[in-house]
Subunit: 245 residues, 2 copies
């Protein structure tokens, strides 16, 4: 049973890796081919880093980093190396996210455009703020050695839930962001958004891929047979391999 479950798990990981790469590559291609490429000078080409870095940071790296404890290798032996990997990957995701925010704020400030007025930005900044809180709390409680097992087992389901919740908010932010960007870019053109030019079809598809990737992460995260078996609340570190799911 465990062999079959992990076969499906690796197949899902393969799908996840392909979907995640496609999300990032499609966003890069959209910005490069239709929106004039990238620069770091306060212009609209600096803005173009924003979608790429947010999709990479808040969705793809974040999603991958969330799934560390679903690797069957992490189920046996000491948990600390896996915790460090989980924290380090999330830190990378957070750094990409912050650079993505710098890109849009710098572009806005250069062009005297208001910051943080749209629902997209309200929801997005909430997701980033929650991500920062989640990372710091996770570091303090699960990595630093002071917290008791009681506190850790109390906070763990909350940590897992907020992890999934932040990803859901990120997906909603990315979807609304792509939608908004297309309305901005494709107005006053010979082929506006509502005539579905190839850019619109491509970027809409990218948004659908982001949604599919996010749902696949949530599926792998929540599917109970892929969770690290709990050897009881107070013996969390005891190395044990449960057989048969």
């Amino acid at each position: 049973m465990i062999r079959m479950a992990s076969g499906w798990f690796y197949l899902s990981c393969l799908l996840l890796g392909s979907l995640g790469s496609m999300c990032i590559l499609f966003t890069i291609y959209w910005m490069q081919y239709w929106r004039g490429g990238f620069a770091w000078n306060g212009s609209i080409y600096m803005f173009n880093w924003h979608p790429v870095l947010m999709v990479a940071g808040m969705v793809v790296f974040y999603g991958g980093a969330s799934l560390v404890y679903r690797l069957p290798q992490s189920w046996v032996g000491p948990k600390l190396p896996w915790k460090l990997l989980h924290a380090a990957l999330h830190l990378m995701a957070f750094i990409l996210t912050v650079v993505g925010l710098v890109a849009v704020f710098t572009f806005h400030n250069h062009g005297k455009i208001a910051n943080l007025y749209s629902l997209h930005s309200w929801l997005g900044i909430t997701a980033v703020f929650l991500f920062a809180c989640q990372w710091c709390l996770g570091f303090a409680v699960f990595l630093l050695p002071w917290a008791s097992m009681w506190l850790r087992s109390l906070l763990k389901p909350i940590h897992v839930f907020f992890g999934a919740a932040i990803l859901s908010l990120s997906i909603a932010s990315v979807i609304s962001g792509i939608n908004e960007k297309l309305f901005f870019s494709l107005k006053n053109t010979t082929r506006p958004y509502n005539s579905l030019p190839s850019e619109a079809v491509f970027a809409n598809s990218t948004g659908m891929l982001v949604a599919a990737f996010g749902l696949l992460v949530l599926y792998i995260l929540l599917a109970s047979s892929w969770k690290r078996p709990e050897p009881g609340i107070l013996t969390d570190r005891q190395p044990l391999l449960h057989d048969g799911e």
Copy 2:
């Protein structure tokens, strides 16, 4: 333990009811006060039904209907009445959703506006399509008597996952829809969206409430201590009340 858990459960339900009512009432108020109210004649006032009915159907009623089996009353005795309630509430949610779609399609067709071009619409129609599939499959497998317990226990986690996934997609659709509507409505006005007029603050807040409601539903749905205790896969109908948790 069960008493404390159900105390928190009812407190969450109270919060859920308040948040859900606020989502619907805020959307009605937005459409009534700033967008000229409602009509059923193909005009922009017919469109105004769309946000109200989608928030009510795909988010609030859908969310409430999802949680039927989390009521501790549903844990004992025959499951059939609760299944009927679950299916009936979801059917109501679906009907509201379909009327909400009729409102926007009729408005578009009257005004010669293209249908289904934005990412908002692609994601939204996907969510509605999955909802229809989910309802029909749920009806066929879990309500009609032909399916074996083996098939039901195989499909149940998939049914629960897709239930949560459809809600996540609905939230992303609603957020992108509110965002898009504000860009449409607040352009060429003396106080555009980026100057955050009171309508923008109010509608952005409505969007944030919808996100909060959705996350609370997912929390109640996924919190393990609020799930109907499983008396084993093959004795699904056996009335049993587990103590502790």
